[in-house]
């Protein structure tokens, strides 16, 4: 079996998310260098604050301001920070219960090494220089020496109520995310793509129903069986159906209008799709006979053009629509 194909695949998206009133106040507060929590009906203070009580599911809206200092409740030493994490030098992940809060906030803790970190240690917020209303407005936590460790960490500051009102509140966040993959299409599609680079269309035949799939995906979806017998089809084919594209796609250097069609290659059991060129868009029709056009060095056909043969009879492709 030839070497399987692989290619880098980057999946990247900027998620735009709106905020509820509690989240908005919390993230706007971070921008203004203060930390807000939310009170539950049984008197607990949740930091980071949520819109609904995690126990009762009750809507909660009473905000309080807690201290920017707190106590580590658990931690983990990260000696090899990953690309998008808060610090690019070794740091501790920590859950920190801020003074006045009953729950802990996850963030990075900047410390010289694992020996300098322990559960119960006192820390304080290090604010980011540029703040936009995001959890990353807290750059990280840093050690803070204000006397003996308090395992509980509470009672140092009684949280004061806060209206949650700010000038120019943050109402949404844009969370960018990028993941880098190395994609492999597997056995059947590797064989197809390699043959295509040699200007051959090679599909695979189902051992049961004998249908030839182009491009092959490795299985016959009707029979649920693996396909493996390779069958060369085309190069000519028949337009089974088509549409006229009138809107220019971003980053696509094709003049509109153009025709995008389903093309049943001769010998194939289903149609693939491609652009039709070499003929005015309004003269493309079902049954039109076409052949692929290759450009220099291309691994796949640029488009399909009419062969000049008479149109195919409808009955020859009706099952392939």
């Amino acid at each position: 079996m030839p070497e399987v194909l692989k290619a880098p695949l980057v999946v990247e998206f900027p998620f735009t998310r709106s905020l509820g009133p509690v989240q908005s106040a919390f993230l706007t507060g971070l921008r203004e260098r203060l930390v807000l929590g939310v009170r539950t009906s049984d008197g607990r203070t949740l930091v980071p604050p949520v819109e609904y009580d995690p126990v009762t599911a009750e809507e909660i809206r009473d905000l309080v301001e807690v201290a920017p200092t707190g106590t580590v409740t658990t931690w983990a030493w990260n000696h090899a920070p990953r690309r998008d994490q808060p610090l690019d030098t070794p740091f501790a992940w920590a859950l920190v219960r801020l003074d006045g809060a009953d729950t802990a906030l996850l963030h990075a803790l900047d410390a010289p090494g694992p020996d300098a970190v322990h559960t119960g240690m006192r820390v304080r917020v290090r604010w980011a220089g540029e703040r936009t209303g995001a959890i990353t407005d807290i750059a990280c936590f840093e050690p803070y020496d204000d006397g003996p460790d308090a395992p509980d960490g509470r009672g140092r500051a009684e949280p004061a109520t806060h209206t949650g009102e700010f000038d120019d509140p943050v109402t949404g966040i844009v969370a960018t995310a990028r993941l880098d993959y190395t994609y492999s299409p597997g056995r059947a599609q590797t064989a197809y793509i390699n043959a295509l680079a040699e200007h051959r269309n090679v599909g695979e035949r189902c051992p049961s129903c004998r249908k030839v799939y182009v491009p092959p995906r490795g299985a016959c979806p009707t029979c649920g069986l693996a396909t493996s017998e390779q069958v060369e089809v085309g190069p000519g084919g028949t337009v089974t159906t088509f549409c006229i594209v009138n809107i220019k796609a971003k980053n696509l250097d094709i003049e509109v209008p153009y025709v995008y069609a389903h093309i049943a290659l001769d010998g194939a059991g289903l149609a693939l799709h491609g652009r039709i060129g070499g003929i005015p868009y309004d003269q493309v029709r079902m049954g039109l006979r076409v052949e692929p056009v290759w450009t220099e060095g291309a691994r796949y056909p640029d488009h399909y053009r009419p062969t000049g043969e008479p149109d195919a009879d409808y009955d020859t492709y009706r099952e392939l629509l």
């Binding site: 992940w93 299409p185 490795g218």
Partner: protein, 349 residues
């Protein structure tokens, strides 16, 4: 309606660091054919099909629809998909059979973690406002839980290493496992967790067939009857939870009837050594219970399939007469966030 439903067949792939020579459907198809072959059923005989997978793992949109090619979904079949571990697909299929809408169900799941940076990919399931922007990876979050357990005196690093060693030693009898036999415990990945405390990253697939009542008896010599299944979830904010305990697991086990009588076997989905400590405590498992004879997720952890494999392994032990009453557990999310418990029994011998 009170119907008896059983796992009557189970199959899994050999789990490997990479399966790059296979597409997802190419990887999945052999296990589908395996369970159908064990029961003599054809696709057309299956009343309901349910699958579990996540497109994020391989970065391939709508991969679950392509995976359906392996089932033979034409003419159209009754089918569903969960963007979760296959254990939750089994839960959906079990409820479908309970309603009487179907007598048999095919459940499968698969995961290809090899194409992507799994530790980072899994951060995308976290709270998008407060947590995901920090990209805390799956090992880091498990390490926070492990440290909490160490601080509480529930475990220590040597005890965690012993969990790892026992799991991989047991996996020597499991030809499908990815990590078998002595494995160095290694350096810290995120302290206190070392490489040996973490599951292998790999690709794999699994499938089971469920059947109701007499149908199950006809398809399997000793069906693994599902006496109960339940799943529960913790609050999503890590800082709200007591990371040393798993009340959701305990509640799911209670609802599934796990505490009514002792089990002899438990297949726990504990990808990290420290999580087995939490689960043993939550499930009140004593030393008489055989835990993870398959080697568990520390020996093979194909994400999205590893939970279903726990149910399959427990059922297979009932099928083989090696267990009379087994507990299977599956988890999802960071630090055992969501937990499913199933109780399986064989007919008296």
């Amino acid at each position: 309606m009170n119907r008896e439903i059983a796992v009557v067949a189970f199959a899994q792939t050999d789990h490997r660091r990479t399966s790059e020579e296979l597409s997802e459907v190419e990887m999945l198809m052999p296990v589908l054919h395996d369970v159908l072959g064990q029961t003599g059923l054809k696709t057309a005989d299956i009343g309901f099909t349910c699958s579990g997978s996540s497109d994020y793992l391989a970065g391939r949109a709508f991969s679950f629809t392509l995976a359906l090619d392996g089932v033979g979904a034409w003419p159209p079949i009754s089918e569903s998909h969960v963007e979760m571990d296959g254990a939750w697909a089994l839960y959906e299929a079990w409820t479908k059979l309970l309603t009487g809408d179907a007598d048999t169900a095919l459940v499968y799941s698969y995961g290809k973690s090899s194409p992507g940076p799994l530790r980072d990919v899994l951060t995308r399931q976290l709270d998008p406002y407060y947590v995901a922007p920090l990209w805390p990876d799956s090992v880091a979050l498990a390490a926070l839980q492990a440290q909490a357990l160490i601080d509480a005196g529930d475990t220590d690093e040597p005890a965690l290493a012993a969990v790892a060693a026992r799991s991989r030693a047991d996996a020597t009898a499991n030809s499908h496992a990815q990590l078998r036999g002595p494995v160095p415990h290694g350096e810290y990945v995120v302290r206190p967790l070392r490489t040996g405390d973490c599951p292998p990253i790999g690709d794999g697939a699994a499938a089971v067939i469920l059947a109701a009542g007499e149908r199950a008896r006809n398809l399997c010599a000793r069906p693994a009857w599902i006496r109960g299944v339940d799943h529960r979830i913790e609050a999503h904010s890590l800082g709200v939870r007591d990371l040393t305990d798993s009340p959701s697991t305990r509640l799911a086990a209670e609802k599934a009837g796990a505490f009514e009588r002792p089990v002899d076997t438990a297949e726990l989905h504990a990808p990290f050594t420290s999580q087995e400590v939490v689960l043993r405590k939550a499930l009140k498992l004593d030393d008489g219970v055989r835990v993870n004879p398959s080697g568990g997720a520390l020996a093979a952890n194909p994400v999205m399939a590893a939970g279903l494999i726990r149910i399959g392994e427990a059922a297979a032990r009932v099928h083989r007469g090696e267990s009379d009453r087994a507990l299977a557990h599956a988890t999802s999310g960071p630090c055992l966030q969501q937990n499913l418990v199933a109780v399986l029994e064989g007919d008296p011998r």
